[in-house]
């Protein structure tokens, strides 16, 4: 980790338009995000010598990952010293971990890390074909085969099982969990790129329809089309570019239990437990030093679990910690998901949290900017078996 801390940094970020059914190809979105990030950093395509992406090209699920490293390389005819794209990584931001290691090793200078998704356009273009790989009457293999045959089709079912366990073990309530959604929507109102910007109340949350108990509609994120880019550069190179480099004080991506939704040793938490513990092993900083937290909320419960396991409160205390919502508000003790999270800003799938953490550290949050010039941020991505967390600081 010391090598990454001393040698790698974020030099720029970029993002395409974020929206529902934009009708753009995945590659067009990706190029929009890449050009945005290059301009942000002050780099040109010829400077880029690495690509890292998650999960790589995936044509099994429409729009889930329409672009891999080869497609981006070819579109810009980049000369690369290294590239990687794989779903077998500690969560979506595992692609950033790989890039950091590649830069710290000296193999590359500037790596484009990206996540592109255009599910809403792809699904709208299917025209009556089966819109999922796990519909009735089909076959399923791999890790999902122990879940899907029991009509546990959706990640909302899988996360709901964990949420229910947490509710049972610790007395967590829907009134408490709802603050994750209400807070995200409040912040999204200040983010011009967010999908849902009209405020919701706790009553709106409690009255929304149940999806998979105890999770209701507002506990689930919103699919979008988007591409998000993080550029990882050698620290000394980044210092010569446009932005103050953002450094990796620590990264946590440990995984110490069964790699399984059903066999994991503690069903009231997730693999993020290990990724969170590992984060604090490599640093002298403490949770109290963190100025802003951008924590994965593909489902609200995942975000609550991150808050607990990262140490912002004790295990099982998350419900009481977020009750009322003031602690996690923009002006609270730990501003949470300042862009609106995936719940309200859209499922940029992990990368959006790092993008927002950088935005806040650079003071570019506009109306949603956290006050007093935040110096330390956490970004995290992943739920269930997937998890990586990052402690980011200004150089």
């Amino acid at each position: 980790m010391d090598m990454i801390k001393q040698r790698a940094a974020i030099s720029g970020i970029g993002q395409s338009e974020v929206g529902r059914r934009l009708g753009k190809s995945g590659l067009a979105l990706t190029i929009d995000a890449v050009m945005d990030a290059l301009a942000d950093a002050g780099l040109e395509p010829k400077d880029i010598d690495g690509i890292s992406t998650w999960p790589g090209l995936n044509t099994d699920i429409p729009g889930f990952s329409p672009v891999g490293a080869p497609e981006l390389k070819d579109a810009l005819q980049l000369n690369l010293n290294w590239y990687s794209g794989s779903s077998e990584a500690p969560g979506q931001l595992g692609a950033v971990v790989n890039a950091c290691m590649a830069v710290a090793s000296g193999m590359v200078k500037h790596v484009i890390c990206f996540r592109t998704i255009n599910e809403t356009t792809a699904l709208s273009q299917l025209k009556g074909k089966v819109a999922s790989t796990v519909g009735g009457g089909q076959q399923v293999d791999g890790w999902a085969k122990y879940m899907v045959p029991f009509d546990a089709f959706s990640a909302s079912n899988w996360v709901a099982l964990y949420a229910q366990k947490h509710f049972h073990e610790y007395g967590t309530t829907r009134e408490q969990l709802g603050q994750i959604a209400v807070n995200a929507r409040r912040n999204a109102g200040l983010n011009p790129k967010a999908i849902y910007r009209d405020p919701i109340t706790l009553d709106d949350y409690l009255n929304s329809r149940m999806i998979s108990s105890p999770l209701c509609l507002y506990d689930c994120d919103v699919p979008v089309d988007a591409s998000t880019v993080i550029i990882i550069s050698r620290l000394e190179e980044a210092r010569e570019l446009n932005k103050t480099p953002i450094r990796f004080e620590s990264i946590g991506c440990a995984h110490n239990s069964r790699y399984s939704w059903d066999q994991f040793d503690d069903l009231s938490t997730q693999a993020l437990r290990d990724a969170s513990a590992a984060l604090w092993k490599n640093t002298d900083l403490k949770p109290a030093d963190v100025d802003v937290a951008e924590l994965y909320d593909g489902f609200s419960f995942i975000c609550l679990d991150w808050l607990e396991q990262l140490g912002f409160c004790g295990k099982g205390e998350g419900g009481a910690f977020i009750e009322g919502g003031s602690r996690i508000a923009l002006d609270g003790e730990i501003p949470l998901n300042t862009h609106g999270g995936q719940l309200s800003a859209g499922r940029t799938h992990g990368f959006g949290f790092m993008h927002e953490a950088c935005t806040q550290l650079w003071g570019e949050g506009g109306e949603r900017q956290v006050a007093n010039k935040p110096q330390v941020a956490i970004a995290s991505a992943g739920g269930g078996t997937l998890a990586a967390s990052f402690l980011l600081t200004r150089d």
Partner: protein
């Protein structure tokens, strides 16, 4: 639930689990050296590294570790609501199965509820589902 379930691709190494219900038995792989149950099955015991792994019948008794009631109709022909649960086997609670709880009111399902296996046949496969151990 859906009449036309999505079914697992069954590798020969795990056929005992998916097809044991034909004889009314829930078969779980077990290390013949250290007696650890191993699920899903594998070629080696992760506890003692023995290669002697064989399917053994368990009682089929289990306890609900957690559950959810699915209300969302993910497909047009999916009948909702229904219960998805994770149950812990009586013989070794660390062995858990995701399953459906059937044969009871949704409202009666709770964490800690004692259940027992029943099998739902779909062609060659017998899905292990669970119902309350004591029916009212």
């Amino acid at each position: 639930m859906i009449a036309n379930r999505t079914m697992p691709v069954v590798d020969p190494s795990e056929a005992h689990f998916w097809c044991g219900g034909k004889e009314g038995r829930l078969l779980i792989s077990r290390c013949q050296s250290c007696s650890e149950y191993i699920h899903p099955t594998g070629p080696i015991c992760p506890a003692c590294l023995s290669r002697e792994i064989k399917p053994e019948a368990v009682s089929g008794k289990a306890v609900i570790s957690t559950f959810t009631i699915n209300y969302q109709a993910w497909f047009p022909d999916l009948e909702v609501p229904y219960v998805v649960a994770i149950v812990e086997l009586e013989e070794q609670p660390s062995v858990r199965l995701m399953t459906n709880i059937v044969g009871c009111d949704l409202e009666s399902v709770h964490i800690g509820m004692k259940v027992r296996v029943i099998f739902k046949q779909v062609d060659e496969i017998f899905l292990p589902l669970f119902e309350p151990e004591v029916t009212a």
